[in-house]
């Protein structure tokens, strides 16, 4: 492994930019993400920054079970996120729709139908500590040796 790659791995481990997208949740998960910012949980000590700007995000947190307005907008938003990127869904809604997935509803879960999902945190809502551990866990696997994996992928396509 090159020195540059080692440096990239070390930097990416402690610099994760997060954007949260509410695709029809009830706010419960969103304010648990906000609670992570509080000095009690202090998400920034792990190098996670909540910017809420998709153009500079590494990890997109999705709460909510896909309301009709988001069906065309979410793939667009996903395209605008620079590589390497990952999606972590928070709460039951993106997985199954939770209590809203009943006859007469407008939402259309799961979110994985529309964009690739890396990790999911179940719970209605999950605790802040679970959200932090999920982001850290997913980011470590995804962003480590990202370039090496990309080259391997490209090589296999050419062959």
């Amino acid at each position: 492994m090159s020195i540059l790659q080692q440096l990239k791995n070390a930097v990416r481990q402690r610099s994760i930019h997060v954007c949260y997208v509410n695709t029809g949740s009830c706010n419960g998960c969103d304010i648990e993400i906000l609670a992570c910012l509080a000095p009690k949980y202090d998400i920034e000590q792990y190098g996670i920054y909540v910017h809420n700007n998709p153009r500079e995000a590494d990890v997109i947190l999705i709460t909510g079970g896909m309301s009709p307005q988001w069906i065309d907008k979410l793939p667009d938003l996903w395209d605008r996120v620079p590589e390497p990127k990952a999606v972590v869904t928070i709460g039951n809604c993106p997985i199954s729709g939770c209590v809203f997935n009943r006859p007469g509803t407008l939402i259309d879960p799961p979110v994985s139908k529309y964009i690739p999902v890396t990790a999911a945190v179940p719970g209605c809502p999950p605790r802040p500590s679970e959200i932090i551990s999920a982001i850290l866990g997913a980011a470590d696997i995804l962003f480590k040796d990202y370039e090496v994996h990309q080259k391997e992928k490209e090589g296999s396509v050419k062959k």
């Binding site: 009830c26 419960g28 304010i31 648990e32 609670a35 309301s67 509803t105």
Partner: protein
Amino acid sequence: MKKVVDVSLPVGPIHPCFKEPCRIKCETRGERVVTTEVELGYVKKGIEKIMIGRPWQETIFLAERVCGICSVVHNTVIVEALEKISGITVPRRAELLRLILNELDRIQSHLLANYSYCYTIEHETLGMYLLNLRETAMDSIEMMTGTRIMAAYVVPGGVREDLSADNAAKILEATYHIETELKRFVKMFETGPMIGLRSKGIGVLSMEDALASGVVGPTARASGLSRDARKDDPLYIEMGWHMITRTESDNYARIMLRFDELFQSLTLIRNGIAALEPGKIRNGGEMKAGRIKHTIEAPRGDLTYEIEIDSAGQVVYVSIQTPSIPNIEVATHAMMKNLASAADVTSTFISADPCIACAER
């Protein structure tokens, strides 16, 4: 008349200042924002539609998930409506526990609203102080109900769990902690020169506009209107509740009014805990058919549920009127008009404490 507009500036749906997605279209002339328009519909789930035709037991959990910030009050209002239909009485201890939990919920909601405002005007230090103080209130809620949000604590006939004397003492301790800390933060907000520049005289909602628009909650009370559903509640009057209003009617007044209400909520919790007497926490009863309209004061204003259930226990009709609907409208049409800077759009909008999930359901 032809409007002279330079740029149409969209804000959102994903924006660093917003907790929830919504789009504000601003028409600007130079730096001045002439008019704004709020575009909603990003979190519409159709909760009322899902509720119809389901047994009333399920609607309690659905009502709780209308809004994650003020889930306790949605739970309380639907349960009180169902109790009124069937004539179920609630023991006094349960009533007091409901009051204590509702006021704890109001504390965390108001602290979150003020955090959002401080964050929007780029005063992150004070925002983080307030957010950290909110965790004390959340810990008290967790101690009382067993979970942070979506507790389903209020059940027909009473409450789900009793509050032990140890936990009551801990909540009492938490209220004193919040009070001492909050006094410092209020002083910081009152005397901060930069905060004053960004808040005073901006987003003014005059009393005439407020009267005409039907605005509710802290936004109405900051404009001098005495609108609060708690004034009709004998238990709140007994616990020493009184109407708080302010007359400046700008962003500063709305935030300061929430700080004033926080101190009142702390007093109410203390009085509630002092009045607790040992006894039953839940009465029995039988559900009957009927229709009722019930209003209580949510952290953001009057919350009304109109619900009808048939003899089989199914919900036939339900309509939820949340406080954010008039508040968002009045923010668009009265407060965010003729603002001096585009930066004031988000701060004025946040100062009305809009809850998009409540408004769209």
